[in-house]
């Protein structure tokens, strides 16, 4: 019932918003089907008869502290939960991962490389400053300034200029046609707008979002209060959002059970399923799959420079068995990009070398000169992630049946990431890939000239060309087809062995917290429409 949006529950605020989006629909007609700005806005209210109650506090259990709160300079994933409530951007994601206007009332695309955004009137930053086109320009100029050292600079490098046409209108000119651009703008913190001339956002964040930063005690509590001037009338319903930090997953689930927190997300689907069974009042809605578990191959040297060995590895992998055993079936078979992306793999379509066949794998190995099987040495996995380790153990057994031996090497996260980014791992290494705003960001991992592509030793001009073309394609349908083709190409060459895809985290909450929906895009955007009725 949480997944079906109903537009009937809305108060005046929602009608207002609905009008806005209808106008947008007209203007966006030329944009193709990508911009389904629908009434999904009017959030499922946990039942058509219930009216949202204003006030109240939502306590959320978090497993990691933020590292900085300035959306432009932040690099830590753990910060996004907080920036997602404090800042907003020109666009945002709907619950079903479509783009809709946020700080804008409408936008146009006069030509393939130009976007003109008409901004909302009367929006104020938390410090009282008016939100204008100058802030938009400032935000992107700051991202693009090398001195800022923003991680976002790479993904916005296609911006030629940001021009203020008038205080309510801003124009983006791109160097090339870029299908990823709007997706980045819709993502938090990537598209978050910061106020011009305000310093120290990292510790004193000032945004336009539904919640205002109040206080933060590291490792203990992060407190936000409702923004009284928030631009969607009537929202947010909550008067306070409190994050409490529990670093241990067992503690986190016990805290939820004892109602010390109202909501959290868990890393293990089986734990989440067990938790949901302990009480009928717990809601667990995993949302769309957004994460994959790939095996990165070092193809710079023998034996993985041989395509036959790589294909044998892919054939020796029983993806369905991993999915069923490790995730208890709550996920899908994965390819390079998860389902929540444009052209993401649906888990059932045909992929080359995906059908488990140990005999064929052995045959390929024999052809490659390893008739007695092959020892691939260390398979490095993240020790801190039990799901990763469990999957690796199963892979270890499956490969053994095809004559491929590996030695499982669980490793601490930081040194593992170091090995991965520098290409220093011997043969096999696994790091789960989290959600990214655009499929292109994932393909960048396998592009020949990227940091990770070089680390793996991929040199495939054809693949590079496909990736570049796909990013330049603004037609969603044809881009999706291209993305699927790229994924087939990767599977065909077995550059990366993908196993399964799953939701980033398994969100779970008590049903007295209503109006909430999980979002595949990393953040708890829909806390803004949540209310609590105990």
């Amino acid at each position: 019932m949480l997944k079906t949006p109903s537009s009937t529950t809305a108060g005046p605020s929602f009608d207002d918003a609905y009008d806005l989006s209808r106008r947008n629909l007209l203007r966006l007609g030329l944009m193709g089907g990508a911009m389904l700005v629908g009434p999904s806005f009017a959030v499922a209210a946990g039942g058509p008869s219930e009216t949202p109650v204003a006030g109240g506090t939502l306590t959320i259990g978090a497993d990691a502290d933020p590292i900085g709160l300035d959306p432009t300079t932040v690099t830590a994933f753990s910060s996004y939960d907080f920036t997602g409530l404090i800042y907003t951007g020109l666009l945002r994601w709907t619950a079903d991962m479509k783009i809709e206007p946020d700080l804008t009332v409408s936008y146009e695309r006069p030509d393939d490389k130009t976007y003109v955004f008409k901004l909302r009137e009367g929006v104020k930053f938390h410090n009282g400053q008016d939100f204008t086109a100058e802030d938009v320009k400032y935000t992107f100029d700051r991202i693009l300034d090398p001195a800022t050292a923003s991680k976002l600079r790479a993904q916005y490098s296609g911006i030629k200029a940001v021009t203020v046409l008038d205080p309510r209108t801003v124009k983006f000119e791109l160097k090339t046609t870029d299908a990823a651009f709007l997706n980045y703008l819709a993502t938090n913190p990537d598209g978050a707008i910061v106020p011009k001339g305000v310093e120290n956002l990292s510790t004193q964040p000032v945004g336009t979002g539904p919640f205002v930063f109040e206080s933060y005690q590291p490792n203990q509590q992060f407190t936000l209060t409702a923004n009284p001037n928030y631009y969607e009338k009537g929202l947010p319903f909550l008067s306070k959002v409190v994050f409490k930090f529990y670093k241990d997953q067992a503690t986190l689930s016990s805290a939820l059970r004892s109602k010390a927190i109202d909501m959290t997300w868990l890393k293990d689907p089986k734990v989440a399923a067990l938790m949901a069974k302990t009480s009928p009042d717990l809601v667990s809605a995993p949302g769309q799959t957004s994460r994959t578990f790939p095996i990165w191959l070092n193809m710079k040297a023998k034996p993985l420079d041989d395509i036959r060995v790589r294909r044998a590895l892919s054939l020796a992998t029983d993806r369905k068995a991993c999915l069923d055993t490790v995730l208890g079936g709550s996920g899908k078979i994965g390819a390079m990009i998860p389902e929540s992306q444009v052209g993401g793999y649906d888990g059932v379509g045909e992929m080359p070398y995906y059908k488990h066949d140990a005999a064929a794998a052995k045959k390929l190995l024999a052809e490659a000169g390893y008739p007695d099987g092959i020892d691939l040495g260390n398979y490095i996995v993240v020790a801190a992630n039990p799901l990763d380790v469990a999957c690796a153990q199963i892979l270890h057994q499956q490969w053994q049946a095809a004559g491929i031996t590996v030695k499982l090497t669980p490793m601490e996260t930081a040194p593992l990431l170091n090995l991965w980014s520098t290409g220093g791992w011997p043969t096999l290494l696994s790091v789960a890939l989290s959600w990214t705003p655009d499929a292109d960001a994932i393909f960048q991992y396998v592009k020949s000239d990227s940091k990770f592509g070089t680390a793996m030793g991929i040199a495939d001009p054809q693949l590079d060309k496909l990736i570049t073309e796909a990013r330049a394609d603004v037609d969603p349908a044809s881009r999706a087809a291209k993305n699927l083709q790229i994924q087939r190409h990767i599977a065909e060459n077995a550059y990366v062995i993908q196993t399964y895809q799953y939701p980033l985290r398994w969100e779970i909450w008590w049903n007295y917290a209503k109006g909430y929906m999980p979002l595949a895009a990393n953040i708890r955007s829909f806390v803004r429409t949540t209310w609590v009725k105990k």
Binding site: A149, Q220, D248, L419
Partner: protein, 313 residues
Amino acid sequence: MIRVVLTRFAWTLVILLGVSFVAFMLMRALPGDFAIAAAGSQSVSPEVLDAIRRDLGLDRPLLEQYFLWLGHALTGDLGRSFVTKQPVLSELPARFVVTFQLTLIAAIIAMTMGIATGLASARMRGRTDWFVRIYNGLILAVPNFVVATLIVLLAGLYFPQLSIFNYTPFLSDPIANLGSLLLPAFSLALAVSVTISENTRAAVLEISSQDFVMVARAKGLLPRTVLRNYLVRNALTPIITVTGLQVASLLGGSILVETIFAIPGMGQYLFDSINSRDYPVIQAIVVLAASVVILVNMLVDIAYARVDARVKA
């Protein structure tokens, strides 16, 4: 006496210097740094990582970094946390107080349980001895994080009304504060109490076979008096030694127990800081913990003199 104290003090400084240097180098020897740990599995360009490192001074030669840190530390500036950008000294004292409370409660629980079971075991022998020793063997084999996790899971499932997931600071509500520390302290104390119990038992058994105890009994002193004035008093020396040594293991155990119970103490702070490679914080905590262990050892020496006349000279 003054000379003794001064020499000790000088040694303490040398030890702390050594500890700080070794900790510094060991942390840097661990692969991966703050920039990498913060970015996680996201694709962050090397230039951005380098800029973060430059900003924090991590691009300088190691020895230079160490002496820079030392120079600041000697003037009382322990630097700023990479993660929160706040001065380490603004956060650490509060953390230390929490861990101090936790270990103090744990030490009291451990000593009470340990001495009681050890005495009972040594004095009553027979079935009690049997029971205590099997119990001790069992508990010794269970690490404190297992006990802590079990408590957390069981409490969450069966006693959700227990407020173990809401740590309350002492100043805002002392009673609730003690309440929230009791179970964590218990899980921390369990293993230590076993060590104390075993040592108490051994010490009492050894002393009860000594001649002066036999004399005391022979001259008709009440068993109670013999126990208090002869047995316990003499057994105290080894017990104090063990308890003193266990302070270090209590501090070490606090890392796990605080993390599991989500208690904002020094141990949890250290655990987090190691994961995120927050060097200034790690450095400060290691030096502080080393100071505490050294201080406790000094206190143990002084306590010897109080309970054992032979040490006084």
